[in-house]
């Protein structure tokens, strides 16, 4: 048997399962292999079997203690910064700041419910809700924008995760003006789902767009949008 050949001799999907669980496939290969897994029980079993091995690999690293200084730094930062749950409670204060974008990344899903409540309350509780289908380009998945009371929530399903080292960033476009950051970064869960509340009013906004940006976000889009929802 040559290296890379299937050990059973009856099944060979290119031997990508090991590279996949090691995180050693290229992003495009990872995406293709994930799709392949949907229809290949043999590879799913191989991934499940090898995943436990990879999870044990960190134990092979020589043991060191985290320094007391590191512990202090981490805990000081933790005590100074709200997490997703507390950010949600403090949403009106943090949402308007660009620095809130990193918090919004984590808070996006949790904030969706709050935004929905805000939307209803701002509109007097009876505003009509619009569900606007969004165009998804270059990646798998679907997206729609829910708008109520001038506020929006982006709902994505089975969306490809952002490439390694990147996050999705939401942009608002008004007429011919350049897109402005919505102060929201997000990723998707293992099912490709996310419900992303948009903190700012959508009044005057003609398009809500999403691009893949480096971790931490960008001030201007650096790539073509992968999601576009037109409000007009």
């Amino acid at each position: 048997m040559t290296e890379g050949a299937d050990m059973s001799g009856t099944h060979d999907c290119g031997g990508d399962a090991a590279a996949y669980v090691l995180g050693a496939l290229e992003p495009s290969e990872t995406e293709a292999f994930r799709k392949h897994l949907d229809g290949c029980a043999v590879c799913r079993d191989e991934v499940a079997a090898l995943r436990g091995v990879v999870q044990a690999l960190p134990m092979a690293a020589p043991s060191h203690s985290a320094s007391p200084q590191l512990r202090r730094r981490v805990m000081q930062a933790v005590r100074e910064e709200p997490n997703a749950r507390t950010a949600r409670r403090r949403w009106p204060r943090v949402a308007g700041r660009w620095s809130g974008a990193r918090i919004a990344l984590a808070a996006a899903t949790a904030a969706a419910a709050v935004i929905a409540v805000l939307a209803v309350s701002l509109s007097g509780g009876g505003a009509a809700e619009r569900l606007i289908p969004a165009r998804v380009a270059g990646i798998a998945g679907s997206a729609q924008l829910r708008v109520a009371g001038g506020r929006g929530e982006l709902i994505v399903r089975r969306l490809s995760p952002p490439p390694r080292g990147k996050v999705y960033e939401v942009w608002l476009k008004a007429g011919g003006a350049p897109p402005t950051p919505a102060s929201v970064l997000f990723s998707v869960n293992s099912h490709g789902s996310a419900d992303v509340g948009l903190p700012d009013s959508l009044r005057g906004v003609s398009q809500v767009m999403v691009t893949a940006e480096p971790s931490g976000g960008s001030k201007v889009p650096t790539e073509s949008p992968v999601i576009v929802a037109s409000l007009t």
Partner: protein
């Protein structure tokens, strides 16, 4: 974890105390410098905190989840900050070993587990161990490893597969994986 999700720093401190050493050890193995490893661990734990510790039980233990975040952070650091120096250090090359503080029963058990995993890894043929170390601890893709070692990509993927399969057999025999 529920208290962490509720935004309780004291609960998060417990998480750090329980998993901080393992996180730092992995980061140190990957970065090769204490400063780089500390930056990675700090960023990883802060991202966990900011996200409200959205841990999904189905994905494995809390420790596995935390270590996967640490590893991803380290790889981000390699790729985005060009701090690749030192990432391929061998165990012998890592200096500044710090003795652990308190050796509890759990810690003793953990060290035994670690020894088993290390032994299994070192019992692999050298060419197979090399691709595992480059991929897992170095954060390189199979294509990058193929270029580095001047091998066909298929050979690299094959070695990864053989290595993980052998490791699985060794760790299964020792009762570490199912």
């Amino acid at each position: 974890m529920e208290l962490v999700r509720e935004g309780e720093p004291d609960a998060f401190e417990v998480i750090f105390d329980r998993h901080g050493d393992a996180a730092f050890s992995l980061a140190y193995r990957m970065c090769g410098t204490r400063g780089g490893a500390e930056d990675v661990v700090q960023e990883a734990f802060l991202s966990l905190w900011r996200s409200g510790a959205r841990y999904e039980r189905v994905r494995g233990s809390v420790r596995s989840w935390i270590l996967s975040v640490v590893r991803n952070r380290a790889i981000d650091a390699f790729r985005h900050e060009a701090v690749k120096q030192g990432q391929d250090v061998s165990d012998e090359g890592v200096a500044e070993r710090v003795p652990s503080r308190d050796v509890t029963d759990a810690e003793v058990e953990r060290r035994d587990d670690a020894r088993t995993v290390r032994t299994a890894l070192f019992e692999l043929p050298r060419d197979q161990r090399r691709v595992i170390e480059l991929a897992y601890f170095g954060g390189f893709t199979h294509a990058e490893i193929a270029e580095m070692l001047e091998l066909p990509a298929g050979t690299v993927k094959g070695r990864m597969r053989l290595a993980l399969t052998k490791l699985r057999l060794s760790l299964s025999a020792a009762g570490h994986v199912g």
